[in-house]
Amino acid sequence: MEYWYEFWLANFVVTSIGFALISVVVLVGGIKDISQMFSALQRSHDNKHDPDSRDHPK
């Protein structure tokens, strides 16, 4: 039983630290991703091309 407790405790600590680090990386990287997404959508809007406009099945 104590082995299970120690296993869960170790899981918890390692995962929480990993999550904290990932959150910081996602914060920095995500801002750049949003900017790139806006650029891509703006380019697509300017080209007035929707590749899925014929996706509706007849």
Binding site: M1, E2, W4, Y5, W8, L9, N11, F12, T15, S16, G18, F19, A20, I22, S23, V25, V26, L27, V28, G29, G30, K32, D33, I34, Q36, M37, F38, A40, L41, Q42, S44, H45, K48, D50, P51, D52, S53, D55, H56, P57, K58
Partner: protein, 490 residues
């Protein structure tokens, strides 16, 4: 009332900022692919944020905490299985890679590409029914949490629910996936810091020793070992593995993130890294539930114990940040789910039944309309219905209504040449049987759920072996994948 002026100011600032960010996304919607999958322009980090935010809301925090309160450290098995399945899917690309190659917008769309249009509609009806009924109880659980932790009198529960729904419907209807991605990103930051803050406070107040002792005295060895715990055991573990795999593969809100990425490789990486995030965002609220058990004892209401406990220990300012985080979690899940189920109703039920095709802009209007209609339904369902038993079990069994059959259909369709339309029909219909057993014959969730997956798989295999071959459909699908790879520049 637990809230100070500072707490209310933090909440107000978050709500205004979040809604503003969401409404900003509307200007980038020029067609249906922008509205549903953000023009397939989502990068890795935004993908991690949105996938994590979509599947980790106040409801999941509440039911994870409830599991922790009721089953102690054994509850951690749920999170471990979920995290590991995502990691494996991300590492191997199982289902994720091939689905993204097809440039889909919905899961039922796959069923038409691989099988038939009628199967697409059946799959969509099952998915939308299970998904909307699943979403239908979220508001009440979320409203319960927010009213308890803020100290608002419980008579304000309905007003709280309506307020939450109106805000998230506003930016989801107008800005679609673009708005949802922006708000999910903001919300991920808030909910992440809230989760870490709560964890630090609960451990400081309670301590690991007291949590260990509370579980030991209340549950014995079953509170640590999930295999001997009467609520879990091997049947449950097998069911959860199947459920997690099928959910990752066929749950529309999850796969919609995969469909929105720049290319299949990014999809895989999103799934892989989000596995760790899911693991953390499951373990932490379970630990809060155990801390609530240590502090309040075993006779509190299992669903309300965690918010009552937090309202007692969190100081002013911190409470506001935490509630802003939980509100963020609530809105990210609800908005994503609203978009997902409304897209299925619009794209996979209404559009295939129409005789005349609809323009891209027309499809956007249709999706906005179904989104709004489902919001209204959710409000009334939430007010009227309350599930009995642990919320977690209800949610998973409702999802199994279509997940078992859909999983067999998707995996068979992607990896088995012999899979055909008859097999997929049998899988979908037989997959419902376990849910019938759970609700009407009170068979335990683990056995009923596993039975659903086994029956669905049997249906796929036997139906495919006895039915006509669909080689031409398979050829068409592979051609579509090659063309899509060219479009993605891969």
């Amino acid at each position: 009332m637990h809230f100070s002026l500072l707490d209310w100011a933090i909440i107000a600032a978050y709500v205004v900022g979040s809604i503003g960010a969401g409404l900003y996304g509307k200007r980038y919607i020029s067609g249906i692919s922008d509205y549903l999958v953000a023009g397939r322009s989502m990068g890795l980090f935004l993908g991690i944020a949105t996938l994590a935010a979509t599947e980790n809301g106040t409801v999941s925090f509440m039911y994870y905490a409830q599991l922790g309160y009721q089953t102690g450290f054994s509850a951690f098995i749920n999170s471990l299985l979920l995290g590991v399945t995502l990691l494996v899917m991300g590492q191997t690309g199982f289902v994720v890679h091939k689905l993204r190659e097809l440039r889909l917008m919905t899961i039922p769309e796959f069923f038409e590409k691989r099988y038939s249009k009628r199967l697409r509609i059946l799959c969509a009806v099952l998915m939308a029914t299970g998904g909307i009924l699943n979403l239908g109880i979220f508001l009440k659980v979320e409203g319960t949490f927010l009213t308890i932790i803020s100290g608002l009198p419980i008579r304000y529960l309905n007003v709280t629910m309506v307020g939450i729904l109106v805000l998230e419907t506003l930016y989801t209807v107008l800005g679609g996936m673009v708005s949802v991605l922006i708000t999910d990103f903001v919300q991920f930051i808030f909910l992440g810091q809230a989760a870490l803050l709560i964890t630090v406070y609960t451990i400081r107040v309670t301590g690991w020793g007291k949590m260990h002792d509370a579980v030991l005295h209340g549950m014995g060895a079953g509170g640590f070992n999930p295999i001997i715990n009467p609520d879990y055991g091997w049947a449950y573990i097998i069911f959860m593995i199947l459920s997690d795999l099928s959910g990752d593969a066929c749950w529309q809100p999850i796969q919609m993130r995969g469909f929105s990425t720049r290319d299949p490789k990014t999809s895989q990486r999103v799934f892989y890294w989000t596995g760790i995030v899911f693991l953390a965002l499951g373990l932490m609220p379970m630990q809060w539930g155990i801390a609530a058990l240590a502090k309040l004892g075993p006779s509190a209401d299992s669903l309300q114990a965690m918010p009552i406990f937090l309202s007692q220990i969190l100081p002013a300012g911190v409470l506001g940040l935490v509630v802003a985080g939980m509100l963020a979690a609530t809105m990210s899940v609800n908005s994503s789910y609203l978009l997902s189920w409304s897209s299925i109703v619009a794209q996979d039920v209404i559009l295939p039944l129409r005789k005349k095709p609809l323009s891209s802009k027309g499809q956007v209007v249709l999706n906005r309309t179904t989104n709004f209609a489902i919001s209204v339904f959710i409000l009334f369902w939430s007010l009227w219905f309350t599930p009995s038993g642990p919320t977690y079990f209800y949610l998973f069994v409702m999802a199994t209504v279509f997940l078992a059959g859909a999983f067999a259909g998707v995996v068979g369709g992607l990896y088995w040449k012999r899979a055909n339309t008859l097999g997929a029909y049998c899988a979908l219909i037989l997959g419902i049987c376990g849910v019938v057993g759970f609700f009407f014959f009170h068979i335990k969730a683990g056995y009923a759920g596993t039975a659903s997956f086994v029956l669905a798989a049997l249906g796929m295999v036997l139906g495919s072996l006895f039915g006509k071959r669909d080689d031409y459909k398979l050829f068409q699908m592979k051609e579509a994948a090659l063309q899509a790879a060219a479009s993605d520049g891969v």
